[in-house]
Assembly symmetry: C2
Homo-oligomer: 133 residues x 2
DNA sequence: ATGGGTGTCCTACCCCGATAGGACACCCGT
DNA sequence: ACGGGTGTCCTATCGGGGTAGGACACCCAT
C-alpha cells in the first residue's frame, strides 16, 4: 500500500492518511490481517511527524478499522471491511454532493458536470495498473 | 444575494464566503455594479466576526472581483465576470475531480458515481428556480 | 457641521493541528 | 538476556485562521 499526501488539499495530513486506509479497505485493496507501515517508517516516507501518523492510526483503531499489537505493529481488523464500506460510502457521497452543488452554484450545466465527472473517472482508471507504480 | 456558512465544511468561513461571491458572479446571479452586503451586516447575519468577512472581501478585491468605494461599500467590479468564470471553472473542476478520484479510491464503480452525481444535480435544480437559464 | 453608515487597520488572544524530541512498554529474533 | 523493532504517551512549541474590540478615514444625507 502506497501513501501520498496532497499539501494543497483542504483536509489535514492525519485525516488524509486515515481516509486512504479507509478507502483501501473499502475497495478491498487491503484485507483484514494486513500489516500497515510502521508509524516511523510512514512518517519518514511522507515527510510528516510520527505523531501525525500515530494520530491517524489511533483514530482508525477507535473506529474499529485497525488493531494494534503492541511491540508488533498495526493490522487491519476483522470487522474493518464492514466499518469502512459504511464510512467510505457516507464520506464519499457527502463530498461528491458538496462538489456537485458547488459546480451548480458556479453556473455549470448538468451536461458540463457529467462531462467532468466522466473525464475524472477515465483519468483514474487509465493510468493505474492496480498495483505498485 | 443570500449567504450561508457550512460549519462542517473543510474550507474556512472566509473562503466559503469568497467562493459564494465568485460562483454567484460566474453564474451571473450578480452583475458588475451590484452592491455587496456590508462587512458588519453580513458578519451579523452569518454569525461571524467582521474581520472574517473583511478578509474575504479584501481577497476578492485583490483578484479584481470587487471594488471598494471607501465610505460607501463594496461593489462587483467591471471585469469580475471574466475573472470569476475562469477562477470558478478551475476551482470547481479541481474539487469535482478530487471528489471523484476519492470515490474511485473508495471502490465505487463509475455507475455508482454517476448515479450520485445525477441525484445531486437533481437535488440542486429542484428547489431553485434558476434566474437565467 | 454632524452623525451614522461604510471599508480599513491594528493589537491581542485562542484554538486546533502539526511539529519536535524524548521516555516508556511491549514483542521477537538472536 | 539483549537489542532493535514496534506502538504509546508526554510536554513544549509553532503557525494559521478566527475571534474580540477598538481606532481611523471616508462618504453622504440631514
Amino acid at each position: 500500500m502506497h501513501f501520498e499526501l496532497d499539501p494543497r488539499a483542504p483536509t489535514p495530513p492525519s485525516e488524509q492518511l486515515a481516509d486512504q486506509v479507509r478507502f483501501a479497505v473499502a475497495a478491498e485493496r487491503m484485507a483484514p490481517g494486513d500489516r500497515l507501515p510502521s508509524v516511523r517508517a510512514l512518517a519518514a516516507e511522507v515527510r510528516v511527524n510520527p505523531n501525525t501518523v500515530s494520530r491517524a492510526w489511533r483514530e482508525l483503531e477507535r473506529e474499529g478499522v485497525l488493531e494494534s499489537r503492541r511491540g508488533d505493529g498495526m493490522f487491519v481488523a476483522a470487522k474493518a471491511l464492514a466499518v469502512c464500506r459504511k464510512a467510505a460510502a457516507r464520506v464519499v457521497a457527502e463530498r461528491l454532493e458538496r462538489a456537485v452543488l458547488e459546480a451548480c452554484a458556479a453556473g455549470l450545466t448538468n451536461q458540463e458536470i457529467e462531462t467532468l465527472v466522466r473525464a475524472a473517472c477515465a483519468a483514474d482508471l487509465a493510468p493505474r495498473p492496480r498495483k505498485s507504480a
